[in-house]
């Protein structure tokens, strides 16, 4: 048992990878078991992630040296730099890992019936597993070049998945092309920044870079490059053009995973600005840049969403808008990082709100995309004007949609309210105007979702949808699981914040801990 625990960081990567390599072979023998095979593998991965979470939250960060003579031995004797790839999983990493594990597991379950009619299923499932692997790698790795490799795995897998339905029409390929260009540029700029770090310090481990960081001009250039491209991959506003296309053209289950994938980029953004640079950078400037990006994302996202006719495009714009809340919360934390008094009084609180919102957003936005997928599965359209009266036919979907919409609009007792409340309270102490904008955006979100609810679900039963039935059981199960998480988080936010979110925030803020875990000498 302890052996499994020691090797769990390797297992959580190797298990989905091995399954992905075997999926084409399994699919050749029996297409029926394929979906179940993948679901079981992702379920096991979720189980290992939960094991790791308990371990990390009780005993502190987890280290795994690949190929080392001992899993925890980071430095070779007599040398002061790590020479091997190290997985470095702390509170924040495992927090993101849990999101990835839950989301990809439910996506596999949902796909059991959602993707049944499509051809090339073994490829679909292999790509889903690879996408999950890439995200895990991005979140767990402590090595900056390794991060680049996993960023590429995640982006190539998501591009192929976005373009998966291009046999039916040209639009998915178009969205895939757009996303491919965006993600290749981001990955290459990350590679360039890796070169800048390596050229100056001759190390690739992030904790080691943080400890020797001099904040030269080259480091500033690397910071700007990294911030820009990671904000782009996270779908923040000035660079958000790929988001609605990619989210709306991908299959619904994949869209849910894509939301989590863009949050993995957001995680990397936070990791780099907090753990790599921390107070050596001008935290007030960078913090305000992130806050302004957040405010712009919030506002432009929601205004663009209101005018959309396509249900998935509308939700995609809302995803941009909700990304703004996370940037706002964490940006406030970054802006007051150098000021211990302010950090103690509201900075940590704001970051808790922002980080908690990441998980909440993954859950309710996933649920909303799944309900949109359920509507598409039964009606064959995503156009809101063509839908109507579906509440008569699809009871469960309607209930789940209401839960998701209430959560995204910040209505108690759902989880969106819990995290938004923390953000409002703490940001108000920092700057009241920002808090008011955030509340305004929330009201606009509610208005937009009332419109969707009205046009898709309410009204008289339409003639062409007379025979529409509830979606199959596996889809209902996936949606129900997400709805349960949403309600539970909404009812007991304090427990989650105390046990899961607070350690994540502290692991971001405390840079000395981060470097000391690798280099020793606390």
């Amino acid at each position: 048992m302890s052996n499994i625990l020691t090797h769990s960081p390797a297992l959580v990567m190797a298990l989905p990878l091995l399954a992905a390599f075997l999926t084409p072979v399994v699919g050749r023998f029996n297409r029926k078991v394929l979906g179940w095979f993948v679901s079981i593998v992702l379920g096991l991965t979720l189980f290992i992630t939960l094991l790791m979470a308990t371990q990390i939250l009780t005993n502190g960060p987890m280290i795994y040296v690949f190929g080392g003579s001992e899993a925890g031995l980071t430095l070779p004797s007599g040398y002061s730099v790590p020479i091997r790839i190290i997985f470095h999983i702390d509170g924040m990493g495992i927090f993101m890992g849990l999101i990835t594990a839950v989301v990809s597991f439910l996506a596999a379950i949902y796909s059991l019936s959602f993707m049944q009619k499509h051809s090339g299923l073994e490829k679909y499932y292999a790509l889903l597993l690879l996408l999950a692997t890439g995200m895990f790698g991005m979140e767990f790795t402590g090595d900056i070049f390794n991060f680049f490799v996993f960023l590429e795995i995640a982006s190539i897998a998501s591009v192929a998945l976005i373009a998966f339905r291009s046999n039916l029409s040209g639009e998915p390929a178009e969205a895939g092309f757009k996303y491919m260009v965006v993600s290749s540029i981001s990955a290459l700029m990350v590679l360039f920044a890796v070169g800048l770090f390596y050229g100056q310090y001759d190390v690739l481990n992030m904790a080691t870079i943080a400890s020797v960081m001099q904040f030269t001009q080259l480091d500033k250039i690397a910071l700007i490059l990294l911030l820009t491209v990671l904000a782009m991959k996270a779908g923040s506003v000035p660079m958000h053009m790929w988001t609605p296309d990619a989210y709306s053209e991908a299959p619904a289950a994949i869209t849910m995973v894509l939301v989590a994938a863009s949050q993995a980029s957001l995680y990397a953004l936070f990791r780099i600005s907090f753990s790599l640079y921390n107070i050596s950078l001008n935290t007030i400037t960078v913090g305000w840049i992130i806050i302004i990006l957040g405010i712009l994302s919030m506002f432009i996202g929601v205004t663009m969403a209101i005018i959309q006719k396509d249900i998935k495009r509308l939700m995609a714009y809302h995803a941009i808008s909700q990304t703004g809340y996370m940037l706002l919360g964490v940006g406030v934390g970054l802006a007051v990082l150098a000021n211990p008094v302010a950090l103690e009084s509201f900075g940590i609180k704001a970051m808790e709100g922002g980080i908690f919102h990441i998980m909440n957003h993954a859950m309710y936005k996933g649920l909303l995309f799944l309900t949109a997928g359920a509507l598409f599965y039964r009606t064959g359209t995503r156009d809101l004007n063509k839908m109507g009266g579906l509440a008569n036919n699809m009871f469960y979907t309607t209930v789940f949609f209401i839960i998701g919409a209430a959560a995204i609009a910040g209505i108690p007792p759902f989880n969106g309210f819990a995290s938004k409340l923390i953000i409002y309270e703490s940001v108000y102490q920092f700057n009241p105007l920002l808090s008011i904008i955030a509340m305004l955006v929330s009201i606009l979100t509610l208005a937009s979702f009332v419109k969707v609810f009205h046009s898709a679900f309410l009204g008289p039963q339409l003639e062409q949808y007379k025979k529409v039935q509830e979606v199959p059981k596996s889809m209902v199960f996936a949606m129900a699981a997400l709805a349960c998480i949403i309600v539970l988080f909404g009812l007991f936010p304090d427990v989650i914040v105390k046990n899961l979110v607070h350690p994540a925030v502290m692991s971001l803020i405390n840079q000395t801990n981060y470097t000391a875990t690798i280099l020793g000498g606390i």
Binding site: A14, L22, V25, V65, F66, G67, G68, S69, E70
Partner: protein
């Protein structure tokens, strides 16, 4: 565009492609001693297949190069690679258990400049071979798929 190239190109290709493949495998197997390795050698082997596809056209190689076999080789290579990484799990994932063990590929190297001994390196040569198989098969599948795909485009344009 004509499917096949001229007689000169076809003759030279049939003469030369075997040598390219052998050279590729040489580069793969000697990866731990000389410049090269799994990726480079795999790319060389795949270039032989690219040459064949260019020379004989997509129809000409149908019975000779098959995508399914390539896919199988690719999966085999990857599984071999990850399995040898798993063998180190007694210590850590990716631990080189066979280095300096005296068994297969287990000789210790002479420290410093030496003429090179093929039987060294532990899991490194095996992983080289695994990656070499994976790379040439993967590139082969890419070449075959894309050339078949471009043929569809060409047909569409002509009709």
């Amino acid at each position: 565009m004509k499917e096949e190239m001229s007689r000169i190109v076809r003759t030279i290709t049939t003469l030369i492609y075997g040598f390219i493949i052998v050279f590729g495998f040489y580069v793969i197997v000697h990866g731990h001693l000389t410049p090269g390795g799994g990726f480079q050698g795999g790319a060389i082997v795949a270039s032989a297949f690219a040459l064949l596809v260019v020379t004989f056209g997509n129809q000409g190689i149908k019975g000779f190069l098959q995508k399914d076999i390539f896919s199988l080789i690719e999966s085999t290579g990857l599984v071999l690679f990850i399995v040898f990484a798993f063998f180190g799990l007694g210590v850590t994932f990716f631990y080189n258990i066979m280095a300096n063990s005296g068994g297969l590929f287990g000789n210790s190297a002479i420290i410093g400049v030496n003429p090179g001994d093929l039987n060294t390196g532990g899991t490194i040569p095996i992983m080289n071979i695994a990656v070499g198989l994976e790379v040439f098969a993967a590139l082969g599948v890419i070449i075959l798929t894309m050339s078949a795909g471009s043929e569809i485009t060409r047909k569409k344009e002509n009709s």
